[in-house]
Symmetry: C2
Subunit: 346 residues, 2 copies
């Protein structure tokens, strides 16, 4: 039998169809490489130089309102622009390009410069979920938008250029690569089995109880069987809904609770403000029947051994295949052992 904790093996990511290489025996490897700076996380509640704090000036001269919950605005350095004309380029089917239109927004999660999601109160996180939903609905009403990516880069190590707690939304005309992959896999499953891929997956994981971290009223947080990043997790809605638009009040409250608990466990793991990139995957909009899509949220955190030693997805991973050392089951056990009270409050 395949021994997950001894034998090098590959696992299939059923959402993308791609494999990840697991090398469980390799976690014993000593580390002599790059060590990240320890984040000394002492910030004032208000920073006069932060372009996200209430009342401060932004790059384009706008003054932020004196907001009380969360606050959203169009990114002053948007990667996508609303007015890009539709153009195509094709040279012998070898040089292929197409213009892309979009809208990029920034969401400040709270006026408090010194907090992060796991340190916020549940009602404040609920306000962020409310705003995500509201923004999603508004952007989906723009008829040329096909996909809305809601995400957060947390921590300097994840390219976050301002420690004020915030996330982003990039909405665009065409489907991004990862969404195309997940659409193919989910629609194939739905056609064959008449239920969503993630409903079936969730059922199996709840039966096994090996990788489940949080089993709440409406959401489950788990380490996916095919996790590539050391402490990668997913939040899956128990109800098969295609987008955040469908979430009820009760669901939004439960999502806030689940987000809080998951990110507190993350912070507690290495007693540090745990960096990650997180993002929701949901059905494309203005794109016909998408009932096979099942809303979920990915967390990709880079840390491997401690607050300062991360996993590098480099040579072999870039050229050949994502690779991990510890098993997803080991990662799940470590996260399960963490307290749900934030280490700073102990």
């Amino acid at each position: 039998m395949l021994n997950f904790s001894d034998h090098p093996h590959t696992r299939v990511n059923i959402l993308t169809g791609e494999r990840v290489l697991v090398s469980p025996h390799r976690s014993k490897r000593p580390w002599q490489g790059q060590v990240e700076d320890l984040v000394v996380d002492q910030r004032p509640a208000y920073d006069p130089k932060c372009y996200l704090c209430p009342g401060n000036e932004r790059a384009d001269g706008t003054i932020n309102p004196d907001y009380k919950d969360s606050f959203v605005f169009v990114n002053d350095f948007s990667a996508l622009l609303k007015d890009t004309p539709d153009e195509q380029y094709n040279d012998e089917n070898l040089l292929l390009a197409e213009s892309e239109r979009g809208i990029c927004k920034v969401i400040a999660f709270t006026p408090r410069h010194d907090l992060t999601l796991p340190e916020m109160e549940q009602p404040a996180i609920k306000a962020v979920v409310d705003l995500w939903q509201k923004e999603f609905v508004e952007l989906a009403a723009v008829d040329w938008i096909a996909y809305i990516q809601i995400f957060e880069n947390k921590g300097a190590i994840m390219g976050c250029s301002n420690p004020h707690p915030h996330g982003q939304i990039w909405a665009q005309r065409h489907l991004p690569v990862e969404i195309q992959k997940e659409s193919v896999q989910q629609s194939q499953y739905f056609e064959k089995h008449g239920k969503s891929l993630l409903s079936a997956y969730l059922e199996l994981e709840l039966k096994k109880q090996e990788r489940i971290l949080i089993d709440s009223d409406h959401f489950v947080a788990l380490v996916p069987f095919w996790a590539a990043w050391p402490y990668e997790t997913m939040i899956i809605s128990k109800r098969h809904v295609t987008t955040i638009e469908s979430f009820t009040e009760a669901e939004k409250e439960d999502l806030a609770k689940t987000l809080q608990e998951l990110t507190i466990r993350y912070d507690n793991l290495f007693s540090t403000s745990f960096p990650y990139s997180a993002g929701m995957h949901q059905a494309p909009v203005n794109s016909g029947d998408q009932s096979f899509w099942h809303w979920h949220m990915h967390f990709y955190p880079p840390l491997l051994r401690s607050a300062t030693v991360k996993k590098f997805m480099v040579g072999y991973e870039m050229m050949a295949n994502p690779q991990r050392d510890i098993t997803p089951e080991f990662a799940a056990d470590m996260l399960k052992q963490q307290s749900t009270i934030h280490y700073k409050n102990k």
Copy 2:
């Protein structure tokens, strides 16, 4: 018309079939995020504590020979093992795993602890190319091996845990994800047009002269039209060969020359030992007719603006789509302007 230097657009990577998002206007964005340590690159020619230097002891107690050129050995912390039994795991087609066998090797490029490829003499680089070829032939003779990944992680920022110049080879039983993608794209093109995808692409690029960096006797170095990393490049063999095994003496010498020139230009760009992950893509072995494959080598360097500011492939990129700010044409111009004499020798 699509204006590459003004309009946000996507380009197709013809080797993988996947798109990259280009946001040319975004290079004006100020950077307030993480700044990498400046690598102070003062190393002794011999380091008594380095497990790659001649005569030193390795993790398993072996003493390195007093080697004069390059030196190869099986990785003491291999991610793949030779003796893993063949096993499969399938739970409802939702949890899918398979054991993987392989051999991981390390190649020290030179006994000199203080050098890097761009600082080595051409004959010394040629010796590395010779060893790559020899190793490839030997590993391809192992009948259960299907793919041989030759690569280098250069610089601590790319997860390289020892500054002694070295690369790696991971050979394995099944095809990794990236190779599967490139196989599909290349075989489709070959079937339809009767020539290799990269021969056709090279012809077009040589006609355009917009992204060509080096046009040598047997190899071309260029910034691919679909480059995702800021200064990503590719080396393509002019002759359509499937693997390194076919290279003649003249070709190997020319590859050494091309590697030297490309990496010197890289170092000169930001006057720093330029980090990257590089790797050859070539035909699978022991896997039937692979004549559609065309040998090439990718360079994925992380730096964006200077020796200390890198591009982060994070939230949007992980969840949705790779994204770049400067255009591939701008990157090519910058690299073309660099001298072919290493900045340390000026």
